[in-house]
Symmetry: D2
C-alpha cells in the first residue's frame, strides 16, 4: 500500500497512520516529499480492512494498494495459459471454440433443429437457456427442468457439449447433472452466494462480465470460484453499459488482450448480447477472433421472428452458416498465431 | 407499440409486420409519413416477445413500446403514496425515517454501542450486515447467524427496528426471523431467483438500485417482488457508476422526484455508499431531505478506523449526532411540505 | 510520483527508471516490497512528460502523480473562498445568487418580459443565449449581435447583470462589451484556444462542466483561464452523461461539496440542463441550495411551448415565482450556515 | 414525430398538441390506444423546435422524432460509399490507409526519422501535432508554426501526405496551407464555430468522435461540416469514456459497422488513444481491420520514453514495423472482402 498524506498533515496524524499500518502486520517506509509525506506499507497483512481504515483517518489524502487483489487467477501466479477440457474439447487451447444456440430452449423441434445445424456448421458447444433471467416478471421465464431434458436430448443426438445458465445457488447441483458448462449471467457476476456454490461444482464455469463491472471485478469474481475449489473458469466479455444507444451494449474487445495479460484463464466473446442487433454479430465475431479471443458465444435460432426472447440479435441458421464461412480464414490466422506463440 | 419502417421498406415487409402484430393480439394502425411508414399496435398482447421479434424483421427501423412495462408499482395503478409500516414506524408517511448503523456487525460491544447512540440521536431503524457481499473472497464475510443474534439483542435493548441484508434465496426465511426489513444490495437487484423468493417473505423489502441500473430497471425489479406477493417494497438510491472517480459512486438525487412521479413506493437515499467518503455524507443527506426522500440509510461506527469494512464512509457517533442536528431544520421543512401536499 | 515496478522487473529496468526520474529533476526513493519494488520521485520537475515516459518504460506496472495537477485554483494555494464581484453582486459571498432567463434571446418582447419577471421575483442576473451551440446545423443558431443588443436593453431596463455564452475565441472581445459574465458551455470546457483567450478577458467567466468531464478536468480547465491571467472563474455543475435516460443528464450534486474541498472558486448549479424536464427543476434547485451551491442558473421563458430551444426544461414565469417562494426558507438556512462558517 | 399522451390526458390537452403540430406544418394522425392516445405528425416542418415545445406541453408523456436528424451524411441520401482523395491516396476506397507518426512534432530529427520509417514500413500519411490540446496549461503546447514547417519538410522528403490538428477557427487557413488533412480532436467535436469554418476549408477533415459523444452526435457534427460546404469528412473512432480504468478509453469497435450502415463517409480507428497502452495497439489494430475500418491512425515515436506527450501509447519504430507485418494477412482479407462487396 502507498498512503499519501495531505499537504498540511500533522506529525500526530502521520504517526497514527504509521501505527495503524504496523498493527496490520506491515513495515513502514516514509518518503518526505517536497510538498507532502508519502508512506509505503511493505509486507503481508490484512490489506482491505487496513486500506479502508487508513482512508478514514485524519490527514490521509489517499491510500492505494499496489499488489493485485486476486491471486489464483493471476498470470503472475500461473504464467502458462489454462486449458479447460470439456467433452473432448479444449477451451484456451489450440482450437477456437464456437458455442451457439438459441437464447431460450423453447421446444423439442426448435432445439433439435438448432443443435443439428450448429454441429453441422462447425459449432462445438450448444447454448440454450432453461432458467432465464428476465427483466420483467411477465416475460417467459424458461422451460426449467423440461428445458434441461431437451438439452440432454440434443447432446445425445449431436455430440455437442451443453452450456446453460444457473441463476441460484439452489439450482447448481440439478443443472450440473445436465450441463457440461455452467453459465453465470452478467447480472449474477457478483452474486457471491452463487459464486461460492460454484466453487464446489464439478463443472467448468463460464462467467460473464457484468454490464458495469470492471475487468478487475470480473477477475475478483473468478477468484471467488477458484478460491472455493473450482479452477475451471472461462471468462466472457459480452458488452458493457455506456451512454451509446445504437448498440444494446458496447463490446469492450480490448478487454481480451487486457485479460490475457492479467490472467491465465481463457476468454471468450459474446457478440450477440454485446450488439443486440443481428447485423453486427458477424463483424464483431471477426474482430473478436482477430483480437485473440479463445472462443465465441453466439445466438442462433431457426426463426428469430418467432423467438420467445432475444429475437433481434439471433442469427438464422443460414446466417450462422455464412458467418462461419466468413470466419474461416480469420480462424486460420488465429491458429497460426497460437502455434507461433 | 410504435414500429417505424425503414425508408425503402417494401410492401411485403410492411405486410409481414402487420401480420406479426395481429398474431400477437393487437390491432394495426398505419401512418403513411412523408418519408416512411409508421405502424401503431393497439390493444393488449404479448408485448415483449412481439417487440423483440418485430425488431428482428426485415424492413423494421425501430420498434418501441409506449406503455410502461410495470403495473403494480406504477403511480398510474395506485395514485396515493404507499406507507409501509414496520415496528410502529411508517415509511412513506409523515415522518422522515433515519436508518443508521455499521456496515457490518462486528461484535456485541460494537453493535450495542452503536444501537444505543442511533436510538438516542433520533434514528428509528438499526442497520448492520450479518451476511456481507464482498468483492474479494479474502475479505471479512460477516458474522452470519451470530450477527443476526446480536442485532436481535440490540433491538431488545433499544426498541429500534432492524434492517439487514439477504444475499441468497436460501437465507430469506432465516433472516426474516431476525430482521424487520430485508435489504437487497445493489449487486443483487437483478438476482431474479432472490426477488421471487422475497415475494413470499412476510417482511418489507428495501431494494437498492444497482450501480448501473436504470430507474426503469429498478421499478421492474420491485415489480417482481410485488407480482410475487409482497407489496411492501422501499426503493433506495445509493449512487450509480459513472466515469467520475472523486466519489465512490455518483448519487443520482434526481432519481427521487423521478421515482415519485412514476411510483407510489417510498424512496430512501443512502448517502454513505453513494459518496464513499465520510465528509460528503452530511451535505448529501441534507440534499436528500430537501429533494423529498422518505428516509436516509447512513453508516455509523464507534471507531471507523477499526471497522472491518467501509471505514472511510462511516460517520463516528459524534459526527452522526452533528449531522442529525444539522438536518433538523431541513426535516421541519420536509414535514411542512408533506402536510401541505 | 510513485512508480510501481512489475513483479519480475529486472535490475536493469529498475535502474533505467531511476535514471529517467533523476534526469527530470527528481530525487529517487526506492521501497523494496515483499513482492515488488516501488519508487518514489521527490522534488520539482517536468511531471507530465516524466510520468508518460515512465509509463512507457519496460518493467513499469504503473506510475501515478501524488500532487494535484492544478495550482492557482487549489484550496491549498488559497484557503479562503473567492468572491467574484459583478454589477454590485458577489458570487461566492453571503448571498445565494439566482441567474435566470431563456435559453435563447428570441425577440425584444420575450427578453424584456422575462427580464422584468426575473428581477421582480428575486433573480440577480439575466441569462440568455445570443450565440447558440446547437447539435444540428439546421436548428436556430441565435440572434447573435442583435441578441447582445437586446440583452443590453434588458439590463438597462431592469438593472440585472447579464450572462451570455461565448463559443469562439474570435468572439470574446465583442461579447465582453455586452455581457457582465461570459459563459462557457459544457461542449467547450476543453476548447483550449477559447480558454486561453478568456485569460485575457476583462470579465468573470462561468465555466460549465463538460458532460463527461471529471471534476479534476473541470479544475484543469479553470486553471487554464487563471494561469492565462483571469482569476474570476465561477464553476457550474450542469449534469453529466450517464446510462440513465429518465433525465437528460445526471445532476452530480456531490460535485458541490467535492469542489468546495478542492478549490476556492464559487460553484453554481444549473438544474435545468441537468434534468431536461421542467418538473424536476424546483426539487433539484432545493437540493442544490441545501448542499451548499453558491448560486443557481435556471431557464425561464414566458411561453416555453413556443421557445426556439429547450422548451421542455424551461419554467414559465409563474413556475419560476413559485420556485423562488419554495426556495426562500432553504435560502435562509443557507445564509445561516454561511454566517456560521 | 410520434407523441405519446399521458394516461389521463384531457381532450383539451390532446387538442392543443394537435394544434401545435399543425402550426409547425405537419399533418396529424391520431391513434386511440387501449390505454392512451398516440399522435403521429406527418410531413415536413420545423422539427426540433416543434419537438421541444411538444415535450413542454401538459398531457404529453413523450415526443420522439422518427426521421434521422442528419441528411447529407446519411447513407439514405447517398447509398454508395464516399471515397476521399488526398495526395494520390483514396480513403474509403480499395486500400486500407495507415496514418502514423508522433503525438507531437518535437524536433526536425524526430519527425524526419519517424516520417522516413512510416513511409518505408507501409504508412501513407504522416500524423504529427503542431498545435496540441493539453489538459494542463503547464504541459507542452506544441511547436505551432515551426511544427507545421517541419511537417512540410517531412512531406517533401518522403512523399507522405500530412495530417495535423486544428484547434481554433482562427487557425484553419494557416494550417490548411501546410496540411493535406485537417484533424479535429475529440474535445472539439462539438466546437460548432470550428465546424462551421471547416465547411469553408479546402481540405478533407478527419473528425474524431468525442469521448462521450454518441454515434448520432458524431454524424450531426459531420453534417455541420458538409452542410457548410465541405463534403470530404473522414470519421474516426478513438475510444469512449466508460467506467473501465484498465484502458485509457474503451474502443467502441462496433461503431465501425454501425457507422457503415448509417453513413457513406469513411471510418478510421485510432487504437493508440483508445487503449492508452502500447501493448494493446497491435491487437486493436488487427480487430479494427477485421471489423472493416477504412484505415488506422497510430502513434509512432523513435523514443517513446523521451516523448513530450503520449509516450505510453506510442509504438517504437521496430514495434510499428512488427505491427505492419502482423497486419498484412488481415489487410489481404480486408481487400478481398472490399472487392467482393
Amino acid at each position: 500500500m502507498i498512503i499519501s498524506m495531505r499537504l498540511h498533515a500533522t506529525r500526530e496524524e502521520i504517526d497514527s497512520v504509521c501505527e495503524r499500518i504496523q498493527e496490520s502486520g506491515y513495515k513502514v517506509h516514509t518518503i518526505q516529499g517536497e510538498e507532502r509525506v508519502v508512506i509505503g506499507a511493505v509486507g503481508v497483512g490484512d490489506v482491505t480492512a487496513c486500506l479502508e481504515s487508513l482512508q478514514a483517518m485524519p490527514g490521509v489524502e489517499n491510500a492505494v494498494r499496489i499488489s493485485a487483489p486476486y491471486k489464483f487467477v493471476s498470470r503472475e501466479f500461473q504464467p502458462q495459459r489454462s486449458r479447460i477440457r470439456v467433452n473432448g474439447i479444449e477451451i484456451g487451447g489450440a482450437e477456437l471454440v464456437v458455442m451457439a444456440g438459441p437464447c431460450s430452449v423453447e421446444s423439442e423441434a426448435q432445439i433439435m433443429e438448432t443443435a443439428e445445424a450448429v454441429a453441422r456448421l462447425g459449432g462445438r458447444i450448444l447454448r440454450g437457456g432453461a432458467f432465464k433471467p428476465r427483466t420483467s416478471p411477465y416475460d417467459f421465464q424458461g422451460l426449467e427442468l423440461e428445458g434441461l431434458k431437451l438439452l440432454r436430448k440434443a447432446k445425445a443426438a449431436t455430440g455437442l457439449a451443453i452450456i446453460t445458465e444457473v441463476m441460484s445457488d439452489g439450482d447448481v447441483e440439478l443443472i450440473a447433472e445436465y450441463a457440461d458448462i455452467l453459465q453465470i449471467g452478467a447480472r449474477n457476476m457478483q452474486n457471491f452466494a452463487l459464486l461460492k456454490s460454484l466453487g464446489r461444482a464439478q463443472r467448468p464455469i463460464l462467467l460473464k462480465r457484468g454490464i458495469s463491472s470492471t475487468i478487475k471485478e470480473l477477475l475478483m469474481s473468478a477468484e471467488y470460484i477458484v478460491a472455493h475449489g473450482n479452477p475451471n473458469v472461462i471468462l466472457c466479455e459480452r458488452g458493457i453499459r455506456t451512454f451509446e444507444t445504437e448498440t444494446r451494449n458496447t463490446c469492450d474487445l480490448s478487454a481480451v488482450p487486457v485479460l490475457n495479460a492479467l490472467t491465465h484463464l481463457p476468454v471468450v466473446v459474446d457478440p450477440s448480447h454485446a450488439a443486440g442487433k443481428r447485423s453486427l454479430v458477424p463483424p464483431l465475431a471477426r474482430a473478436a477472433v482477430a483480437i485473440g479471443a479463445d472462443g465465441l458465444l453466439v445466438e442462433v435460432h431457426p426463426s428469430p421472428e418467432k423467438a420467445f426472447s432475444d429475437g433481434a440479435q439471433s442469427l438464422t441458421i443460414p446466417q450462422f452458416g455464412a458467418m462461419m464461412r466468413d470466419l474461416a480464414p480469420y480462424i486460420e490466422l488465429w491458429k497460426a498465431s497460437r502455434e507461433a506463440a
